[in-house]
Each structure stands twice: as C-alpha cells, then as structure tokens.
C-alpha cells in the first residue's frame, strides 16, 4: 500500500500560542495541498497513533518551549530529537509528544518518516489569539510545512517507484 502524507497540527487554540499547530492546518486548508491528510489534535497518544499508518510520512506541527527561548524561532526536529527534548514522564494525566513517539516505537507503529515543525511560543495563557512573535513567524512556518509536504510526496513516489522496479511491495507494508 502506498503511503500518505499526514500533517497533524497539535495544540489548543484556547491557549494562545498553543494554537499555532491548528492555525497552520487551518491556513493549509484554505488551499489544501494535493493528497495530503490535514488534521489537528490535542496530542493525546492513543489518537495520535490512530492518525497514521506505518507506510505514511508524518509531519507534526507543534509549539515548543526553549531554554533560553526566543519566541517565534522555528525548529525542525526528527522524531528522535523531539523525544529527547520532551519532558520526562511524570504525568498524572496525559503523555507528551515524545512519549507518544516512544510508545509508537514500542508498539512497532512508527510511520515511515516523522518530522516535527515547531515554533517557540511565548504566551500560553487562557484565550484566543497568538502572540505577536508567533503570529509573525506563522507565514514562514506555513511555507516550511507546505515545502515539507511536497518533499515527502517526492520521497514517497521515489520509494514506490523503487519498489515497483524491484517488483516487490513497499518496504513498510
């Protein structure tokens, strides 16, 4: 089965900058990239794991804290890096993004590729609306995610063509 490109905006639009992920998805929906699955989520691991299949290329759009921080700065992280950056597991209620990836790996459910596009947030208070720093960074973040979608499609097509040449199935059935 051919993989899909799945884009997941993680965050809560009622917590200011935490809404940047869903805001990127909303912007992409205005002119949806061909053949990409656009979705948003709250990062809950059971649901996250249900959003992709093993042969998919997954792009997660997320907000991060950095120390020292520069709100609005953009980061591109591999799944491994995101997992390392995530806070340790001491949650009483939920799991973080890093643990979600680790859980997927433990259950052999990691997608073919997974990249996190993140922006450093400033304001996580209650309410709508992004801080100026994050709002200013959003167009560039959207451009990067759109570019990442195109590149992921290219790689998927390439892998699929290779598999066809070999007369076998794609490597992650």
């Amino acid at each position: 089965m051919t993989g899909r490109v799945v884009v997941i905006g993680v965050g809560n639009p009622y917590r200011r900058d935490d809404g940047a992920g869903p805001a990127v998805i909303e912007a992409l929906r205005a002119a949806p990239p061909k053949d990409a699955v656009l979705t948003d989520g709250d990062g809950e691991p059971g649901r996250m794991l249900g959003l992709w299949r093993r042969q998919d290329a997954v792009i997660v759009v997320e907000v991060v804290h950095a120390h020292p921080g520069r709100p609005g700065r953009l980061h591109t992280l591999t799944a491994e890096r995101a997992a390392r950056c995530a806070a340790p597991s001491a949650s009483t209620h939920a799991l973080g993004l890093g643990e979600t990836f680790a859980l997927a790996a433990a259950l052999d459910r990691m997608p073919r590729e997974l990249t996190v596009h993140a922006v450093e947030g400033a304001d996580f208070g209650l309410g709508h609306g992004l801080s100026t720093a994050v709002a200013d960074a959003l167009p560039e973040l959207i451009r990067r995610v759109a570019g990442a979608i195109d590149e992921a499609h290219d790689r998927l097509r390439h892998t699929s063509a290779l598999a066809d040449d070999r007369g076998s199935e794609a490597p992650c059935p």
Binding site: E44, A87, H93, G96
Partner: protein, 451 residues
Amino acid sequence: MSHRGSRVLRLDALARVEGEAALQLAVRDGTVAEARLRVYEPPRFFEAFLVGRGHGEPPDITSRICGICPVAYQMTACQAIERACGVTVDGPLARLRRLLYYGEWIESQSLHIHLLHAPDFLGCPSAVELAREHRAAVERGLRIKQAGNAIMEQLGGRAIHPVNVRVGGFYRVPAPAELAPLAERLRRAHDDALATVQWVASFDFPDATYDGPFLAMRDPGRYAIDSGTPAVMAAGAGSDAAAPVRALPVEEFERHVVERQVPHSTALVSELDGHHYLTGSLARYAVSGRWLHPSALDAAREAGLGDPATGRVCRNPFRSIIVRAVEVAHAVAEALRIIDAYEPPARPYLAVPPRPATGRAATEAPRGLLYHRYAMDADGTLTLARIVPPTAQNQAAIEYDLRRQVQSRLDGPGEPPGDEELTSLCERAVRNHDPCISCSAHFLDLTVERG
C-alpha cells in the same frame, strides 16, 4: 534518611503549557501537616467567556474546555439550556446522544486504564515500558479506545471537539447503515473489554479506603450517565457495605455543593454540606452498580469488586481501575444495544426557542459529576454561566486521601520512606482519581525539596 524533622515534597507543574497542577506535601515530625493539590482550572475562563453569547453556543464553546471529555461538556450544556427553555429531548435523539457519550466514556476510561494507571501496578515507570513488556494488553486497550473513537467520529463529526452536537439534538443524524460498521467494532471491543477487566483484576492492590460521602447521578434501573438526579451516598464507616442514599435535586445542587477559594489553587474547592466528597467511578459503582449491563455486572463480580446487587461498594481508590474497566464493558454493551435498536429520529433536532430563564443540569463525565447552570434573557443571550467540573469537586477528597495514605506509610513498619518513595506514593494516589488537572497541558515535572 530519617522521617523525623520537616520536609516538603513538591510535584511542580511544568511544560509545553505552563503549570496546570502541582502538589505540595509537608511532613513535620512524622506527621503529614499538609497536602495541597494546586489546580489551574480552565472552566473559570469559560464561564466569563460564555456571558453575552447566544444560547445555542455553549455546546460548541464548552466542548473546548477538555480534549478528553468534550462530550460531557456538550451533553451537560445542552440539557441545562433545554431545561431553561422548557424542551425535553427524549426518544431516539436522547439515545443517540447517549451513544455519543458512551463513545467518549470508552475512549477516556480506556486511555486512563492502559496508558496512565496500569503502569503503576506493573512496576513500569510509564506507558512506554508497559507497551514493551505487556504489548498485547496495551494493543487491546488501544483497540477498545479506537472503537470509542469511531463512535465519536461517526456521531460527533470528528474525534476531538465534536462539531455535530447542537442544542435540541444533532445537525445530522446517521442512517442505520452508517452505524453497522460501529457495531462490528464494538462486538470485538466487548470481548476486549471483558478481557481487560480480568487483566486489571489480577493486579495487586494496596489497602486503602476512602470513607467520605459519594456523589453520583442516580436513575433507578439504569447505570446513570446522562439521566436521573444527583444522589449522595453517606460516608461509610470503613466498611464495603452500601450506606444510605439520598437525592440531591439538581435545582438544589449549589445549596449543598459549596465552592470556596483557597490560596494555593485557582480552582475552587467544593464541599458537600461542609465535607469533602468523591465523585467518579467509585461513586457511580456504589450508587448505580446494580444497574450495570448484565455482562459488566458479571465481570465485576468475577473481578472481586463485590456484588452491588447485594449492597457491596468499593471504597479502595486503587481498585478504581477495575471499576473503570467494568464501566468500559458496560458502555460497549449499552452502545451496541442502542445501535441494534436504532431507528433514525424523525428530525435531527428539536427547536429550542429562548426565553428568560435559568436551567441546570448534571451528567456523569468519565471522571465524575459535571454540573452546568445557565441564565439567559428573552432573546437567548446568556447572562450567567456556571460550571462545576468533577476534578474541582474531588480536589478536597484527593488531598484527604493523600494525607491518609502518606500518614499510613509513615506509621507503617519497615524503613521510613525516602522522598522518592513518597513522591511515587503521592503520584499513584493522585492517579487513582484520574483528575483532569490538565485540560490542555501534557507534562507534570517533579522536584523534591527538603525543609
């Protein structure tokens, strides 16, 4: 390290979204002086946010309060608004609503059982290690959860923050054929849910008792979720026998459940007639256990929970994981029953014209009783919104439970506990109650301070 002297344990909030909950425990001369759970509570923001909005908006707005239990907020908001407007939604529309609610229950309880609570009993530091060591059980849990997810997607229009619910009913109701695939998944999920009850029943449970009053919805003949009247089971004197139950009509809720501010938390702390009390799985099982679906009731008996039909209750917060598993089995079985008998309603919703009035409602969110009150003027503009979520209600009971459990450990035989052991004990005690302390944040970090 001696347990004499003074020390403070602090579980600090951290993370992607700043602090949502923290716990501070103070021990002085071998006595627990204080256990303070600090909760940052989003519903208060929503109360102010709702004033001035139209009477059709609360289901959509309040569903954003929590990513785990949006349907609970929607259902309670709808019922409160409809009561204010003198409209009763019953028949197939009410059953469809309940089906959606079961979807959320299945999801939320399965998440807590498998990814958050079970690691405590199996010596795993997190769900990741649990998945490595007990992969089949975690896979089974995710299968059950995804069946709940499928209900949410089908009826709610999407898996999180469902958009298909409106005051009076739904924007669109499904054709019977659309529910058929759900039934297939749920039949498999029912077997999985019963296996989960057996699995969690095999865990080792520390001795512990919550001896305060229970508060849960009660609707004789039904394991009440979205119907009936709040009811209070009196405090139990350390026994697992049922205590007397009295009704607490929703109109009188705020006369008995009084919230007060405490300096250490932005959440208001609720008391029931001046006493801490518990709402959630243990309370529901005590008040309504005898009306579980027969398959879930059998599973509960076999799991050693005690037969609710003969007046047994479970007061051990650690064993709440069994009750949650039984509730999942019940929700799956009842969801199937609704789908099997489904006939589409004549209309997807009833008209709910506004009038100047106040409406109140309570339903059972997965983690406990949720209360809403709205007042509106003649054109439906909301003039007041009041939301009492389950975790705020349980806060005082959780603190009480923490004090007792830590004290019990300090008084017990063996080496005095170190900070690490006490921290772990506190975390477990908090998790037993599945508090929704982070309606949007995902991490809790831990630091230990010695006084």
